[in-house]
Symmetry: C2
Subunit: 192 residues, 2 copies
DNA sequence: CACCTTAAAGCACGGTTATTGCGTTTAGGT
DNA sequence: ACCTAAACGCAATAACCGTGCTTTAAGGTG
C-alpha cells in the first residue's frame, strides 16, 4: 500500500512559502500593517492571490504564521554564571523586544488569526522553553530553583499583560524587579 | 463668547450609536465574528454604511468599542466578609467570564482596533478598579492587604496570560491558587 | 419662539479586495 | 521513465471599503 503525501515541503512549495513570508515582512516594515493585503503580498512575492488563499485560507492566518516565525527566539539564553543574572538578562531582553511597537504588533497578529489558539500557544512555548534552559542550568549548579510554571506566572505573564494592556511606563527595572521577587520568594522556603 | 459643542450626545446620535452597538452584538452572537461587516451592521441597525465610517472610521475600532463596553463590569464585587473570600470570588468570576470563547473573542477585539492602546488600557482599568474596591474594604477591616499593582501582577496578569496564550486547563482552582499565594506571600511580612 | 449654524446622517458611486472554477505544472513515488 | 495528485497560475465575479455631495436636525442666539 502507498503512503499518502500530506504536504509537499520541497522545491516550488518551499520557494513560494519563503517568498510570501518575506513579502509580508517587507510590506509590514515599509508601509505598515494596514497596507498588507493579499493582492499586494501576492504581487510582491511573484505569486497569484489564489495561491495564498489555498495555502493559508485567510490573510489573518498568514499574518499569524509570519508573526509566530518572527517571534521564535533564534538563540539560546546566554550563560552569566548564576540564575539571577541569567533570568534577569533574559527578562530584560524579552521585555525590550516585545514591548517595541513592532513587537506588540507581531504579538497581536499572532493572537489574531488563531481560532484554536495553537499559534499563541507556540509563542508561549517558546518563552517556556527558553526559561526551562535557564532553570535547568541553575539546577545543574545546585541553585535553589523555582519551576517553570511559577516563573511563567511571576515574570512572563506580568510583562506580557502590561505590554498588551498598559504599555506606558515599562522599563528594564520592572523586569529586574519581577525576577528578584520571584527568586526572593523561593529563598524563603529553602530546600532541605 | 459661545462654547464649542464638541459632540452631540442627544437625540438621533445616541439612537444611532445604540442601534449600531446592538446590531454588532446580535450579529456576533448569531453568525460569529467573520460575518460582522460594515454593510451588514449598517443594514441591521437601519443606518447607512457611511455613518459607521464617519463615526468610527474603521470596523476594528467599532468592534473594539463594543468589546470594551461589553467587558465593563456592571456591578461592584460582592462583600463576603474577608479579603480572601472577596478576592477569590472575584477572581473565579473574572476567569470564568473571560476564558469563555466569547470572552476571549471580546478581549481580542478590544486589543485589536487599538493603535494607541487606550481601549486595552480601559479594560485593565476596569479590573484594577474592581480590585481596588475589594482591597479598600480589606483595609477598612484592618486586614493585611497587598497593593493593587501587586494584585494585578500576581492574579490578573497570570489569568489573562493563560486565557490568551494557553487556554487549555484553566479552572477555578487556578484562580484560587493565585489568590492564596498572593495573600500567603503578604502574610510573611506582616505589618507592624 | 423663530432663526441660524454646523455637526451628523443619508445617498450614490468608484476603486479595490476577497474569493472561487478550471486548466497547467511539478513534486514524490512506483 | 511513467503516474498520480498536490500545488500553482489565470481569469472572472461578487462583495466590501471608503468618499464627495446633499439633506436633516440638534443646540444655541436674538
Amino acid at each position: 500500500m502507498s503512503r499518502k503525501p500530506m504536504v509537499r515541503p520541497g522545491g516550488r512549495s518551499a520557494r513560494v512559502q519563503a517568498s510570501v513570508h518575506t513579502a509580508v515582512r517587507d510590506i509590514l516594515s515599509e508601509r505598515g500593517r494596514d497596507a498588507v493585503t493579499v493582492p499586494l503580498v501576492a504581487q510582491r512575492a511573484g505569486v497569484t492571490p489564489s495561491t495564498i488563499y489555498r495555502r493559508w485560507g485567510d490573510l489573518q492566518e498568514l499574518l499569524s504564521d509570519v508573526a509566530v516565525e518572527r517571534l521564535r527566539p533564534d538563540t539560546a539564553p546566554e550563560d552569566h554564571g548564576d540564575l539571577l543574572s541569567d533570568l534577569t538578562a533574559w527578562a530584560e531582553q524579552f521585555l525590550d523586544e516585545m514591548s517595541s511597537p513592532s513587537g506588540r504588533a507581531y504579538i497581536r497578529d499572532a493572537l489574531l488569526g488563531d481560532p484554536d489558539g495553537s499559534n499563541a500557544g507556540r509563542c508561549s512555548a517558546y518563552a517556556a522553553e527558553q526559561i526551562d534552559v535557564v532553570l535547568a542550568r541553575a539546577i545543574g549548579r545546585e541553585e535553589n530553583t523555582p519551576d517553570v510554571e511559577t516563573a511563567m506566572d511571576r515574570v512572563v505573564a506580568p510583562m506580557m499583560y502590561r505590554i498588551l494592556f498598559r504599555p506606558a511606563g515599562l522599563d528594564a527595572a520592572y523586569a529586574r524587579r519581577l525576577v528578584t521577587e520571584l527568586l526572593d520568594a523561593g529563598e524563603e522556603h529553602p530546600l532541605p
